[in-house]
Each structure stands twice: as C-alpha cells, then as structure tokens.
C-alpha cells in the first residue's frame, strides 16, 4: 500500500527529514549543517545562486553522495529502505541522448526500481509506461529513438519516467531548464496534479520570477538553509538578498518586482 496516495496524505511522518547534513567535495564543504523537515503534499522550489549546492542537496537526500555528517530520513526510514517511494528527474544534460534506446525504453526504466534485480518489465509495466507517456503527451513518440527529440520533449520523457516510478516523494533537478513555453506550462500543470494526489515534490529551480508563481513553499539555499517556508513568507527582498548576497543584478530587478506587486 506504499503507493496509495490517501495513505501518503494521511501519513504523520514527514516525507523528508534532514538533520545536520554536511556534504563535501574533495574536503571542501558544499553544504553545511542542513536541517530540514518537509511537510507532505507540497510543491517546493529549491532556489539559490550557482554553486549553492541545490543539486548536491537532492543527490545527498537520495543517498547518491557520501555524507560528511548528519542523516536523512524518507518517510521515517533511512532512504535506502524507502527507495521505491522516491522518484527522481535528473538534469537533462546528465545523459547521452544518442544512446541506443527508444522513448519507451527510457520510460520503462522508471519501473526498474520496483522490479529489483534480474526481473524483466511485464505487460503491466508497459501499460503503466504508456499511460505516463500519454500524460506528458509523448505517446506518439514511444518508438522513436531519443536523439530525435527536442529539448522540451526530452524533458517530458524524463518526467514520464519519474511518473512511472509511482513514488510519493519526487526530486527534480531543473526540469524547466531549456524547455519551450508549452512544455513549461505542461510541466507546471503536471506538478500541480501530483501535489493534489498528495505527492511531495522538491524542484530545483533557477528562475526567480516564476519561482514565486509555481511553488507553495520555497527553500532558499546557499550552502546552508537561508530560509524555508511558505512562498509568500520567504520570497522577500531581504531573504533573496541574504541568499544571493547581492551579487546578482537580477536580484534588484526581482526585488523591485516584489515591491510593485505587494
């Protein structure tokens, strides 16, 4: 019953709890003493400047990186024990799109985690994959080789693969990077739908103006948690100033936008 959305919403334990997490690359800390308790059924944006450790945070939360200190719990258990409840959308550039697989093959990979070792995808898995492709309007492309896709289509395929994972907690690394406006709108709708089903979504995002529109909650990150809370409470010029350190010219623009709108 792990995937039952009602069970997920009724859950008392936090989908994600991080305590005193420190992650280092080559002895240089990238994340410092992160404490985080994520409530269920929220769409959360992770924003911060380049090198703030946004990708590192979600990778560490999924157990993909060695932790220097601290711990991570997913639905009250160490992440390794709850991997099937975690879905992942990596950065689009992280894979070779000339790889000899079809769109369908990639989406089926979303089912692999549930299958475990050796077992092959069944007809049920194929049906699920097809449904997920349909949700992102990529079903007509199921048998295409992935190199023939546009950037937006590639991102939709990655989302379909994450949908096929049927998880309760999703980590997405810049799903809006380099996609067309139609795809961006489609992704936003999809994320809202997932949230309404009680899923929890953490999305790395780098466009400040749209972050304000898209997310319920924001995690402002710059090697440490600058602020975490409801978007209205956190998206202030003062907090953004703290996060971006005033280095970016975009900051003043956004601060101005905030001032005008509120």
């Amino acid at each position: 019953m792990q995937t039952n959305p009602i069970a997920a919403t009724a859950e008392a334990v936090a989908p994600l709890e991080i305590h005193d997490l420190t992650v280092s690359y080559h002895n240089k800390p990238v994340l410092w003493g992160i404490d985080l308790v994520v409530p269920p059924g929220k769409l959360i944006g992770i924003i911060g400047p380049n090198g703030a450790g946004k990708s590192t945070l979600i990778k560490a939360a999924m157990g993909l990186l060695p932790l220097s200190s601290g711990w991570v719990k997913v639905f009250g258990e160490p992440v390794k024990k709850n991997l099937t409840r975690v879905g992942y959308v990596p950065q689009r550039e992280s894979v070779d799109w000339d790889f000899p697989v079809s769109v369908m093959d990639v989406v089926l990979m979303g089912r692999y985690g549930r299958l475990g070792l050796i077992k092959r995808p069944s007809k049920v898995d194929r049906d699920v994959a097809r449904e997920c492709l349909d949700k992102v309007k990529m079903l007509p492309y199921a048998n295409r080789q992935i190199s023939n896709l546009s950037g937006g289509q590639q991102q939709r395929v990655f989302l379909a693969r994450a949908l096929a994972q049927e998880s309760d907690l999703y980590f997405m690394d810049e799903p809006f990077a380099g996609v067309d406006a139609a795809t961006e709108a489609a992704i936003v709708t999809l994320l809202q739908e997932l949230k309404e089903k009680g899923k929890t979504l953490l999305v790395v995002h780098h466009d400040l103006p749209s972050a304000r529109e898209y997310f319920d909650m924001l995690l402002l990150l710059n090697m440490r948690v600058v602020a975490f809370g409801a978007t209205e409470a956190v998206f202030t010029s003062e907090m953004l100033q703290k996060t971006y350190g005033g280095r970016l010219t975009i900051l003043s623009e956004v601060a101005e936008a905030v001032r005008q709108k509120t």
Partner: protein
C-alpha cells in the same frame, strides 16, 4: 567422434538463422560439445597443403575437419562473440580508451602467469592477466581520485607503464632456454594456431558466462549505462555493476589475447560494436549485431591467417572487422555516407529539373504570345548556358515526363504535370519574395537569392499558410503576376497526347 563432428558442422548455420535467447544457449552448448570432443584426426594443416584451391581450403577450414584448424576457428568465433557483446557496452559507456588500457595492462600478468610454472598453462596465464588488468584499473582510479589528473591522462600513463613492464618480462622469457620455443611472443600480435584445447575450453567458459550475465542483467547494464545517477537513485548497485562489467571485460580481453594479441585486442572490442551502433538505435539489436560482426571478423581473420605460413591472426581479424565497419559507414540506412550522398544527389537533380521548368516558364511568360514551344536556344540563353547543356536538361525533363520534345528535339513542350510543377515553383518563389518584403520588411532587391533556395523546399501546408497571410495576392514585389491555382489546374485537365501541350497564356 563422428556424432560430434555432425553436430558441430551445423552449428554456424543455426546461429545466424535463429534469433532468440534459447538459440544462443543451444549454440553455446554446441560449441562446448565441439570443444570438448577428443581431437583424434590426423589431417594436415591447411597451410601445408600448398596446391589446393582457396575454395577447397575454405571448405576444409569452415567444416572443422582438421583438429588444429578446429581450435583456431572455434576460438576466434568465441572471442568474436564475447568481444562484440562487451564492446557494445564499452562503446555506449564511452569507455573505449579503458578497453585499450586494460588490454595493455594485462601483458605483465601474461608473462608472470607463464613464469609461474614455466609453461603456457591457460589457467595460470588467465589468472595472472586478469589480476594485472584489474590492478591497472585500480591504479587509474587511484590517480584520478587523489590528483587532479583526468581519466584519459591516467589511462595513458598506466597503459604505457604496464606495457613496458610486460615487454621487459617477455624479452626475459625469450632469453630463457625453454622460453624461445614457448610461443609466448605470439601474445603481442596473436596467432590463432597457437591455441590448444585448454585455451578453447577457457574461451567457451568465458563466452557462456558473458552471454548468461548479459542476458540476466540486461536491464541493469542498460539503466546504469544510460543514466547512472537515476539507476543509483532507483536502488541499483551502480558501482558493483560497473566493476562486474570491468571484470567481464578483463576476461574477454584475456581470452582474446592469444589469437588477437595485446596490441590490437581493443579493436576487436570497439570495431564490431561501433559498426553495430551505426546500423541500429536499439541496445538489444546492437548486442546481436556486434556479436555477429565479432564472430564474422574472428572467423575470417583466422581463416586468412591460415592461408599462409606465419601470418599473424590479430591484424587480419582487425582488418576483417574494419571491413564490416567500412561497409556500415558507407551503407548504413540512417548514418551511411553513401545513402546521404545519394539523397543529396537526387535532391540536387530535382532542384535542377525544377529550375529548368522555371526557366521554360519565364521564357513563355516573357513572350506574351500563345506559342507554347520553347526552343533549346531560348532556354540556353535564359539560363546562360550552352545549347548542349540545355539539351541535356530538356532530355532530363522528358525522362521524368515533365516535357515532350519536338522537331528533331529542339523544341520543348511542357506536359500537364510539367506545367503544374513549373507554376508551383514560380508561385513558391514569388509568394516567398512577397512574404519577405511584406512581413519581414526586407528590401525587394534582397529577396531573390533567398527565394531561389526556398522555392524548392516549401511544402503544401506552408504555401497555403503563406497565401492566407498574404491575402491571396496576385503580384510579387517586382510587379510580376503570381501564377494562380486556377492557372495551375488548367494543365491538369488537358489531354495528354503527343503534340498536345500547355503553355503560358494558352487557353485550353
């Protein structure tokens, strides 16, 4: 013995025909049977039968009649399959250089395996070489993790060092009293004839192991190769799968050493897999093709090396594999350059035909008369070409039934189809010019060159869209009329008998 030979004679045919896992397993079983059958026949080596024809030699070779030949052929085919399968993963994981480094790193292990009990014991050499290969990969990892040197540098470093140590040891062995007869030098360039029953058994074991592991863990190899980050997040032991693959790769290299040689074994990994990659865009098909190409290259290479005395097998196998690659490179349906060239050529010819038609239209248009024949001289003047060139193009139009030629072939009459196409091209050209000047605010004298190219590629849908946006305009920016759809249609209804033709301004 007789039964065994019967079975093995049919093995290669059944291989290529059936395409299922069970077929593969049957084949493996047959090959093992072949390998384990006692070698009791006393036929002469092919290379010693100087006066036989190449066909007889081929027949003798590929029917496994001679025991010595049987080992060489079976071994070459086995190593071809294993290298093709593992090479596919090496190629898609962009680890081609790793294969090369690993193959050089095993050489000291080969020498130490030999020194272990001063004989060419396949098992001792296999163990020594595998350990040396893995040691090499560990050292590469150590260098990349502890310094800021990148992997390619570390690979180059380790490759050269291990190879140098190996060559030193081999030279030492050659100087030993028993060493110079040992055939250990064959490990450099490969000699299929040097393989014995022990080698073949080892190769069969490794081949079957590779097939079984890849069949069982296909899904795991696929997902960790395509997206290791996602695979780890989904709970797959990505590192362990990587090392498992490296171990199989080391096995494949070690069994191929004897026949192919240290220097070229990486080519047997990369070339069949690269050829397969050009021909398909699905991993499963790529594995099949690479295995078949590897098998072919192995069989052909060992056969050619048997034709003459002391021909090294390795280079010949690699050349056989390269031949397959060259064919794939030239004739692959999607990526082949022959195909691409052909498509470009037919496109160029179509553009030329359309330009000729357009010139005929222009001649008719400039006349303002009812005359419908265009002479070759008029066409040549219009296109600023020689009469011969114009005649050639007119003949090309006739060949495609776009025009008929009259009066000793120097008058061109467009057929209804030719007229329609000519109108369409002129129409495309003028619509595009108009669109550029109206919508993109480009000066009227800048648009002609662009329209010359675009007129040949505009599809029907785009043309309809252009018409709509230009509100069905009738003249282009230079004031010339845009041929209307009705004008084009006039050609379609006309009778198509000799002498009948359609021309500018003609009412039918």
């Amino acid at each position: 013995m007789f039964m065994n030979l019967q079975a093995t004679n049919h093995a290669p045919a059944s291989w290529r025909k059936r395409r299922s896992t069970t077929a593969l397993q049957n084949l493996a079983a047959l090959l093992i049977l072949l390998v384990l059958s006692p070698a009791s026949a006393h036929a002469a080596k092919i290379s010693e039968l100087g006066d036989t024809s190449i066909i007889e030699q081929a027949l003798r070779f590929f029917t496994f009649q001679d025991p010595s030949v049987r080992y060489a052929l079976a071994g070459s085919m086995l190593l071809g399959i294993t290298c093709g399968l593992l090479g596919s993963f090496i190629v898609v994981r962009k680890m081609a250089l790793v294969g090369d480094a690993l193959s050089h790193a095993v050489l000291p292990g080969v020498a130490i395996g030999f020194l272990w009990n001063m004989s060419k014991d396949p098992v001792a050499i296999f163990i020594g070489a595998t350990i040396a290969g893995l040691l090499g990969t560990v050292m590469v990892r150590l260098i990349t993790q502890t310094t800021h040197l990148k992997e390619d540098t570390a690979l180059g470093l380790v490759l050269a060092t291990f190879f140098a140590v190996g060559i030193c040891l081999l030279t030492m062995i050659q100087r030993l009293p028993t060493g110079n007869k040992s055939g250990i030098d064959k490990f450099l360039f490969g000699q299929a004839a040097a393989m014995g029953p022990g080698d073949i058994q080892l190769m069969a074991v490794v081949t079957v192991l590779s097939i079984v592991v890849i069949t069982l863990f296909y899904k795991e190899f696929l997902v960790t190769s395509f997206d290791p980050g996602f695979a780890s997040a989904a709970g797959f032991p990505t590192q362990m799968i990587h090392y498992g693959l490296m171990l199989l790769l080391a096995f494949a290299i070690v069994i191929a050493l004897q026949a192919v040689g240290v220097v070229l074994v990486s080519a047997m990994l990369i070339t069949p897999a690269a050829s397969a990659y050009l021909l398909t865009d699905r991993m499963s098909r790529m594995l099949w093709l690479a295995a078949i190409f590897g098998l072919l290259a192995g069989a052909l290479g060992s056969f050619v090396s048997f034709l003459g005395p002391n021909l090294p097998t390795g280079p010949l196998m690699v050349l056989a594999a390269t031949t397959v690659f060259a064919l794939a490179f030239l004739f692959s349906p999607q990526h082949g350059i022959a195909n691409r060239w052909w498509r470009q050529r037919s496109r160029a010819k179509r553009v030329q035909r359309e330009n000729t038609l357009k010139s005929v239209y222009h001649v008719l248009e400039s006349r303002h008369t009812m005359g419908e024949g265009v002479s070759l001289r008029e066409l040549a003047e219009r296109r600023r070409e020689t009469i011969e060139e114009a005649a050639r193009q007119a003949a090309e139009l006739r060949r495609h039934e776009l025009a008929t030629l009259h009066e000793e072939g120097d008058l061109i009459f467009l057929t209804p189809a030719g007229w329609q196409l000519a109108c369409a091209i002129v129409r495309n050209h003028r619509l595009w010019e108009l669109y550029l000047t109206n919508a993109a605010q480009i000066a009227a004298d800048h648009v002609h060159e662009d329209a010359e190219k675009i007129e040949h590629v505009l599809g029907d849908e785009v043309v309809r869209e252009l018409e709509r946006r230009l509100q069905y305009a009738t003249t282009d920016p230079h004031g010339r009329p845009i041929p209307s759809l009705a004008e084009m249609q006039r050609g379609a209804g006309a009778a198509d008998k000799p002498g009948d033709s359609i021309g500018y301004g003609k009412r039918t």
